[in-house]
Symmetry: C2
Subunit: 196 residues, 2 copies
DNA sequence: ATTAAAAATGAATACAAATTCAGCTATAAT
DNA sequence: ATTATAGCTGAATTTGTATTCATTTTTAAT
């Protein structure tokens, strides 16, 4: 028998993230992913059924990580709602800080898996949104958030803002800039623009 | 000679927006666009060089409209910075209220034209962002916006939030929901989440 | 009525790239 | 040393669809 050397599955997945980030899913060529992973084209198909599965795997593990961390945060009774909002911002930024390419894929290609034929991915997003809404409603019922805030609308806006911010950061992914985004977003969410 | 009947160019463009919105640019078939526009495949190529040009035309006219209206708003001396922020929100929502499909394309396919080989589209986005930053800095120098707000970061977040909000609205594009988004976003931007 | 040429058609073509698979390679077991 | 077989390769195949263009249709002018 022959033994597998290294971890080709992980190498291919990491390469796919880089190539999808650079070229976008549909422009990305399997040959380029194979080259970036230092394997042959055929090997990509030994580990992944096809190109679409590659993308789905990327989003599955991303959502798993985002949801696991966010759920822990939301259910932590030692945190107040404002700390939970900051925590969600941290969860999202920290999920991409070590892998800017993943952030670019998250922005550019999420809609490719979010289709009626793959309800799983719609569920992921809904679960994430519901966590956000839960924080907002908790803050409202405790009297520390504006009562007239529409939770659904606000969470949608925040999700879009975070996602695009991450994508813009990936254009020049230096850690200092991510910290600027992190602080700026928290500031805006807490207090808004207006001084009064 | 034969005379053109109707306005096929406009019909094709409108059909392309619908099909791109439904299927995404790369999944969309020229045949489906032709059918939706009630013309033949060949006719699409009489009016547009190729599929990419179709997408570029959509974004060109969208950006022209967004920038023209936003520039007028930002340069209106009768408005204070907070009114200008509300105005930008209105400009964006109003640009899609009559055509939800355009909103879906704006979210899903913008990155396809935003590439180094088409600097024009990078410029459009930059111009739009600079208008937003101008409003924020004006508000800060007038002492009505938080001085520690980072204009670039904040504008990026707002842009992403608006774009994703529009896209979520297009999933169920009833006017009442758009008004919920409009009011909710303005509320959040003005005062943030926290009551204190 | 006939004609000229613009407008429109859609079957045929071209082509890019995803996917396959027959053959090759490396290694664990004997 | 030999063998069996899992792991890997990449040229050849298949597939899907964008694009072309020879042909047909329409209508304005004569």
């Amino acid at each position: 028998m022959r033994r597998k050397e290294g971890n080709k599955e992980a190498d291919i997945l990491a390469a796919a993230i880089r190539i999808f980030a650079r070229d976008g899913f549909h422009q990305a060529k399997i040959l380029h992913i194979a080259e970036a992973a230092d394997v042959s084209v055929g090997t990509v198909y030994l580990y992944f059924e096809n190109k679409n599965h590659l993308l789905r795997k990327i989003f599955e593990s991303l959502w798993d990580s985002l949801l696991t961390r966010s759920e822990a945060l939301v259910n932590d009774p030692s945190l107040d709602p404002l700390q939970k909002i900051d925590g969600i911002v941290d969860v999202v930024f920290d999920s991409f800080s070590q892998n800017p390419s993943l952030g670019a894929v998250f922005q550019k290609d999420m809609h490719l898996v979010q289709r009626p034929e793959h309800p799983r991915f719609g569920d992921y997003l809904n679960r994430f949104m519901r966590l956000g809404e839960k924080i907002l409603r908790e803050g409202q019922s405790r009297g520390i958030f504006h009562p007239e805030t529409d939770a659904r609308v606000t969470v949608t806006f925040i999700f879009g803002g975070l996602r695009f911010s991450i994508n813009q950061w990936t254009l020049n992914p230096v850690p200092e800039n991510l910290e600027l985004f992190r602080a700026g977003v928290k500031r805006l969410l807490r207090g808004g623009l207006s001084l009064v």
